[in-house]
């Protein structure tokens, strides 16, 4: 299929502002957009920059906006896009470092703020932890996240308020809060009970829509909200007694 890639180009060192550049390309059957971009770079413009690694939708490198839709370039099959003009833009809400490469630092910083790691018990139980599969299943959905940044960059709250932690970080926090092996405790994690944390979400569910891994981060945020409320009520009762 003959198509035109209209790619947003920007080199902050050389260019005053971003601009679109067209490349024509003959896509063979089942070509992924990532493969196509590599061909364009190799054959037409070696300065075209974009991130990639695994090419099987699990490393989270190649998230971009393709004909207005957030997705991974590697799992986007060109001829399934159903259009010969394909507009390719970098993730919004993040600064462009070069062409389709954005600065992910704000995304990582937000993640760091939720202490996104298991707080293990002092000692490893002999023969390991005992956790039923049905309990693990509760976090499966969130453990599927590949940190591609689609949800963060599509989030309307993030675009308004850069202090907002964003969907990926909060969903990650929920994954640990639900994990019976985690020892962080309510007072520690409920720090996110703020307007830039769990209460910041607008519940428009853009994150659920754009996630290429069906993580549904908003489910995590809503569950965190419920747990915050419940936790606070429990604390109150404890104090009264």
């Amino acid at each position: 299929m003959k198509c035109t890639f209209r790619i947003l180009r920007f080199d902050p060192v050389e260019d005053e502002c971003p601009y679109f550049e067209d490349f024509s390309y003959e896509a063979s059957e089942k070509k992924s957009l990532l493969e196509a971009l590599m061909d364009v770079r190799n054959e037409q413009d070696t300065t075209l920059s974009f991130r990639y690694s695994c090419r099987e939708a699990v490393c989270g490198s190649c998230a971009m906006v393709i004909n207005g839709k957030f997705d991974l370039a590697c799992r986007t099959i060109v001829d399934s896009l159903g259009s010969s003009l394909i507009v390719i833009e970098p993730l919004p809400n993040l600064e462009i470092q070069k062409d389709l490469i954005v600065d992910m630092e704000p995304f990582w910083q937000a993640l760091h703020k939720v202490e996104p790691y298991l707080f293990p018990a002092e000692e490893i139980p002999e023969k390991g932890h005992r956790v039923e599969d049905r309990v693990m299943e509760k976090i499966d959905q969130f453990a599927n996240c590949i940190m591609c940044g689609c949800c963060y960059s599509a989030c309307p709250v993030v675009s308004r308020d850069e202090r907002y932690l964003g969907p990926a970080a909060l969903a990650k926090l929920y994954r640990f809060v639900r994990d019976p092996r985690d020892r962080r405790g309510f007072p520690r994690w409920s720090k996110v009970s703020t307007e830039t944390g769990v209460w910041g979400c607008d519940t428009v569910f853009r994150c659920n829509e754009v996630c290429p891994r069906t993580v549904r981060p908003a489910d995590g945020i809503e569950s965190l909200r419920r747990r915050v409320v419940l936790g606070k009520i429990k604390q109150l009762f404890k104090r009264e007694r």
Binding site: D11, V13, E14, K30, S32, M38, R41, N42, E43, T46, T47, S49, R51, Y52, S53, C54, R55, E56, A57, V58, C59, G60, S61, R75, I77, S80, Q97, K98, D99, I101, M104, H112, E115, P116, Y117, L118, P120, A121, I124, P125, K127, G128, H129, R130, V131, E132, D133, M136, I139, D140, A143, N144, I146, M147, F176, D179, R181, D182
Partner: protein, 565 residues
Amino acid sequence: MISHDILVVGGGLAGLSAALAADTRLSTAIVSRVHPLRSHSVAAQGGINAALGNSPDEQDDSWERHAFDTIKGSDYLADQDAAELLCEKAVPAIYELDHLGVPFSRFPGGVIAQRPFGGAGFSRTCYAADRTGLAIVHALYEQSLRRQVKVYGEALVTKLIVENERCVGVVIYDLATGQILPVRARAVIFATGGYGRVYLKTTNAYINHGSGIGIAYQAGVPLKDMEFVQFHPTSIYPKNILVTEGARGEGGYLLNNKGKRFMADYAASAMELAPRDIVARAIQMEIDKGNGFDSEYVLLDLRHLGEKKIQKRLPSVREICIKFLGLDPAEKPIPIQPAQHYSMGGIDVNDRCATSLEGFFAAGECACVSVHGANRLGGNSLLETVVFGKIAGQEASRHLEGLERKEPGEKTLLDEALAERNKVEAWMSRTSGEKAHRLLNRLKLVMSEKVGLFRTKSELEEALEEIREIREDYGRVCLSGICLRYSQVLVNMIEFACMLDLTEAITLGALRREETRGSHYRLDFPERNDADWLKHTLITLKDGRPEVSYRPVRITKYKPEERKY
């Protein structure tokens, strides 16, 4: 100048494990060409082996049995003491991963679930559905955040810096700024992964060029057993994305164009779960005999497992098939063919991950201990990365304990970086010449066609000749018009030189080894020959040329016997 006690190169599982194990009083950093979460380790699907004995009717599994399976699977080329070390440490390693947050799948009762994998007598492979690599990398990366391990992401190491026969740092190409800089380190650990992309058909990530192995070789460190290249039986045709061995572990069948489970003709008792080298060759033979489809593939049939089990145990495989092939494995069999998958060989290290160069360590797929010998068992590689990654971190720390804190000369470091910079400038100033990616494709084609599953003397000789021609042409390629910031083209150009060294070492090792063992199958020498070849191949760069030598395999108590499945 950036300066650390320990510099870990690579942010995959081996690198993360090494950094987490380093002495906390030392300053340790990871440098990686991609963010750690983008490392190839996240793509591992099937699982990680340890003799936990959790499967209800297999509680008598033991690490000794695991060691035996590993050694037998290796076609007796593994060093037996190293394989024993790996398997003994496997059990506590899994409990530690679980403790650090890896969301393993569970059996009723809450213990870690285990599934059968090829070449193993027991259900020994622990898993997190079919995204085990993703689960473990994320958990270890998260712990590295907790420990505040410094990470330099998107920086390609291009060279090891050696002064007075000691490794004192590396040169990096920093993608974000386009700069080429020296980094000082008192110890360097390479955890740079495999070289799958020297083949045209591979399950590996695009970034797996194996440059770490090439850089070590260029610094005079020997490479070991490079001729042993694993081809995975089941990669999706035509994109060569992996379908985990777990799919056969869960009960999947391999079918030819007559609808027959042809493994009955090749490994009557183990069937689909024979070791990878055997299954991969069987598939290729079926295709070559005309029993495949379009002379390209056979089928992996999961339909009888039922949609529910497929969704629960193999969700990523299903998702990949639907997304990339438009095919649901619950309804249709998957077209599969063998593809390069894993590098058994690598940087020659001992079981403490030390190399012949003082202050330089290596672990994970880039290293060869050797625990996998001539054929790696599925699930043993993730295990190797965590066990030996940890050992590398500990040993590098110990190495520094006794070492006086003498700072190496700044001059050597700066000079080396300057030399690298000059090299790049020379490439950029050339205005005409062949494009590097086309030349690289030629190299990949040679490897796939002549140094693949089946090998012969004449083809290997031809391959060697062609690799040497491509090396000459490489000296003339042109890079003009690139921008130094975020240049994947430059990365590829730098790594190309390493790939030339690797392919030469693989081919030379394969040509010299006149026997068939594990993944190395010589049509002209179809038998294993223990009398002459129970030894490791070592290839060292001497005066600009590869020099081949050999070292005996270390045997403890497992007598080499015929490998039957």
